[in-house]
């Protein structure tokens, strides 16, 4: 138990440092915004720089007392957690070449499997998803979705 809280307060600290780094990068980026001239006294740079300073100060408070954080997943759960965004990326990259229905099938089958469905059920469920959503969006609502370029 004490191990867990230790590691989570460490997670909070790492998060705080990342946010602090974001504040610094954002502030530097903000002070370098290019513009010809502004018609108002503040211009486009003041707000970002001010926000960077505010975030920086808040981060210092946060780093001093990161508070409660949940434990991050490890082991197989971490793999599963990372599998979900990976599947989304794959589906998005395949969206235009394969078309909506096919890439949605891959996504829903993969995610269903990650969420613990037996492979056969996941595949059947995915077929259902692909059919249902294709019907709803392309046919019922006429939302533009790619049909796929690979099959003409």
């Amino acid at each position: 138990m004490s191990d867990k809280t230790k590691s989570t307060s460490l997670a909070g600290r790492v998060g705080g440092v990342c946010l602090l780094a974001l504040a610094v990068a954002y502030g530097i980026g903000g002070s370098r915004i290019e513009y010809a001239f502004a018609s108002d006294p503040l211009g486009p740079r003041v707000m970002p720089v001010a926000l960077a300073i505010v975030l920086g100060i808040l981060c210092l408070f946060y780093l001093r007392k990161p508070g409660i954080a949940e434990a991050f997943p490890t082991g197989p759960l971490l793999v599963k957690t990372l599998a979900v965004p990976t599947l989304i990326i794959i589906a998005v990259l395949l969206l235009e070449p394969l078309g909506f229905a096919a890439s949605i099938f891959i996504l829903t089958a993969g995610v269903g499997w990650v969420f613990g469905a037996p492979l056969r059920k996941a595949l059947i469920g995915a077929a259902g998803h692909a059919l249902l959503w294709w019907f709803v969006f392309s046919w019922l609502l006429e939302v533009y979705l790619p049909k796929g370029t690979l099959f003409g």
Partner: protein, 323 residues
């Protein structure tokens, strides 16, 4: 000279008409609006889509699709990058697009990266004051500005460098002031300019005729000058042009279309031909009027020249203004 030009035009049109018969109409006509539904690009697309169908120049309805981003920049890049040879697709543009191209805000591409098809209508810039303002004409406005430049907030529906800002900058220059020190208030569109005028938060508004005319007739604001070559018809017939009042400025906001660079000549000519036919139909004229646009028909080569000269002119203007 004039005769020769008309002659060439007639021959060209005959040619186009002849060729047009041989050409097939696009299988899936589509108009891309580089903004949200309801904006200016949408209006431009609907003008073409509705009137083409009503005049029976296309047999299938023209789809209007949307791709917002960067005031048309995303659509511009999309057409160039992905649909450069798609003869089905025309994309809405306006003089604002030319302005952004001139300022290098359309990404890496310039005005030569697409084929300019034609303009079917225009709106014109106006300067307005609140109805209870003591200022009655452009001359008084310039005098009032000269007298007290630091107390003169001008509102427009766009950022520094936008068309509304440019119109304000021209006013500032006419009053002998540096546009850079102009107190310009960038609001979101004409409605916000109207509210700011009514609430007395700003003294002058810069906008377009079509959106201001109803408020002018309703007595909420007074249009001081229209930036057109001649007086506008209809309800604004009594408002003098800027030129009449001694300020040499025209600001047409044309609304037109372009197609991809690699669209075949056959397809391009079909569109040119069809737009030329369209511009003559009563269905189109009704549709144009319904959308608050004034006559401004410029198709094919002439339009291409207009866009290129606009871009060049805007580059000079932006430089003069210190952008």
């Amino acid at each position: 000279m004039m005769k020769l030009k008309t002659g060439a035009l007639v021959v060209g049109m005959l040619f186009a008409a002849l060729a047009g018969n041989a050409m097939a109409e696009p299988a899936k006509p589509e108009c891309l609006a580089g903004a949200k539904p309801g904006g200016g690009f949408d209006l431009t697309c609907r003008l073409a889509a509705n009137s083409l169908l009503e005049a029976k120049l296309i047999s299938k309805p023209m789809a209007v699709t949307y791709m917002e981003g960067g005031v048309g920049a995303v659509a511009y890049n999309h057409v160039i990058g992905k649909r450069g040879s798609d003869g089905n697709l025309i994309t809405a543009a306006s003089s604002g697009s030319a302005l952004l191209i001139a300022q290098g805000k359309f990404g890496q591409y310039d005005e030569n990266a697409v084929r300019w098809l034609g303009a079917l209508g225009a709106d014109y810039g106006v300067l307005v004051v609140a109805a209870d303002s003591p200022i009655k004409n452009l001359g008084e406005l310039i005098e009032a500005y000269k007298a007290n430049p630091s107390d003169f907030a001008i509102a427009g529906g766009g950022a520094v460098g936008s068309q509304d800002w440019m119109k304000g900058a021209i006013l500032a220059k006419a009053a002998g002031q540096d546009p850079k020190s102009m107190r310009y208030v960038a609001l979101e569109g004409g409605g916000a300019v109207l509210t700011a005028l009514e609430g007395g938060h700003v003294k002058v508004g810069s906008g377009d005729a079509a959106e201001m005319v109803q408020h002018h007739t309703a007595g909420k604001v007074r249009i001081l000058a229209v930036m057109s070559p001649e007086r506008l018809p209809g309800e604004l017939a009594e408002v003098p042009t800027a030129k009449e009042q001694g300020v040499d400025i025209e600001w047409p906001v044309w609304r037109g279309y372009y197609v991809g660079k690699d669209v075949s000549d056959a397809d391009y000519n079909w569109w040119v031909d069809t737009l030329n036919k369209l511009a003559e139909t009563p269905e189109f004229k009704k549709e144009r009027e319904a959308r608050g646009l004034y006559e401004f028909t410029l198709i094919g080569k002439d339009f291409d020249d207009q866009v290129k000269s606009d871009v060049a002119r805007f580059k000079v203007l932006a430089k003069e203004a210190g952008m």
